[in-house]
């Protein structure tokens, strides 16, 4: 599978989805006006990846900001991971939040309560 590697911009995150690596990354800011346009290729990619996933998939989410338009799209990404996990593959979501950023921690906890995939909440220095 061709990896998806996207450089971050002030409004969209850095994406590193590489089926050869087993660690997928989503990092930076996700505040585009049209989030669906940005996330659709990622969701489609995971749709294909789930047919033949690695035994262990780790997804690292290190977002500084995300808008409500992205929040739904991020859920769609996680739903694909849930399917992979349900098919008895090892999946983990590492949710990073900056020290003092309770809003970001709570956002991660929201996803954790909706998606049946193990989450790890990781606090980072500001």
């Amino acid at each position: 599978m061709e990896p998806i590697i996207i450089e971050g911009t002030p409004k969209t995150p850095t994406v590193h989805f590489d089926s050869g690596a087993g660690v997928f990354k989503l990092e930076g800011r996700s505040i585009p006006e049209n989030s669906v346009e940005f996330y659709k290729p990622l969701v489609d990619w995971l749709d294909k990846y789930k047919e033949n996933p690695l035994p262990k998939t780790t997804v690292e989410v290190k977002l500084e900001y995300f808008n409500t338009s992205s929040s739904k799209c991020i859920l769609d990404v996680f739903k694909k991971l849930e399917i992979i996990h349900k098919a008895r593959n090892d999946v983990e979501i590492k949710w990073y939040y900056e020290e003092d950023d309770e809003d970001m921690l709570e956002a991660g906890e929201d996803y954790e309560s909706i998606i049946r995939v193990p989450f790890e909440m990781i606090e980072t220095a500001d």
Binding site: N67, D103, I114
Partner: protein, 187 residues
């Protein structure tokens, strides 16, 4: 005599204003506003917790204008703006205030007012549950938000959303939304 938008805007410009804008709300304009206000909150040395809340609320406020502002009425002076909006950001000792204004067709006023009233009547816990419910169950709209913006603002600020619909003409109201972000938050 319909509302004079220019005068209304001028009256919002008090001494505490750190940023104001009136005109077309394009994606590029949103970038410029975000950059400017982010720079100023950094320069003011506000704690990162407050800076992030201000940034988040600003993103949602501007994107609400971008996605939901109705086209301007035919008799309005600024016919060049595809999406006309106003935004004023205030900073004082108690924190920040973000006020936005836009045109809303009168047939949509009740729905929006009901939504705001529902949010304002809810406890912070109810708002959090409401947010999660919409996130989980509501289909994504072509506009992308699925109606989460206002709920998110209320959740992040913990404050009531102060609003007003001013009469513009038979077809249009002028909607003002005013959001406080307290400088000292313990919640």
């Amino acid at each position: 005599m319909s509302l004079n938008v220019e005068n209304y805007f001028r009256n919002l410009l008090t001494d505490d204003v750190i940023f104001s804008y009136k005109g077309d709300i394009s994606s590029e304009v949103i970038n410029l506003i975000l950059d400017s206000v982010e720079r100023q909150t950094k320069e003011a040395n506000d704690p990162s917790k407050i800076r992030k809340k201000v940034y988040n609320v600003l993103v949602e406020s501007l994107q609400n204008l971008y996605h939901h502002a109705d086209p301007v009425p035919g008799d309005f002076e600024d016919q060049g703006s595809r999406r006309f909006g106003m935004i004023v950001v205030n900073r004082n000792s108690s924190g920040y205030n973000i006020t936005t204004c836009n045109f809303v067709k009168k047939n949509k006023v009740k729905q929006l007012a009901d939504k705001l009233d529902k949010i304002n009547k809810s406890s912070i816990q109810e708002i959090k549950e409401f947010y999660k419910f919409i996130l989980h169950h509501q289909k994504i709209t072509p506009k992308g938000g699925g109606g989460l913006g206002l709920v998110d603002i209320a959740r992040k600020t913990g404050n009531e959303l102060d609003y007003q619909f001013l009469d513009y003409n038979k077809e249009y109201a002028f909607f003002r939304l005013s959001i406080d972000i307290n400088s000292l938050q313990d919640n």
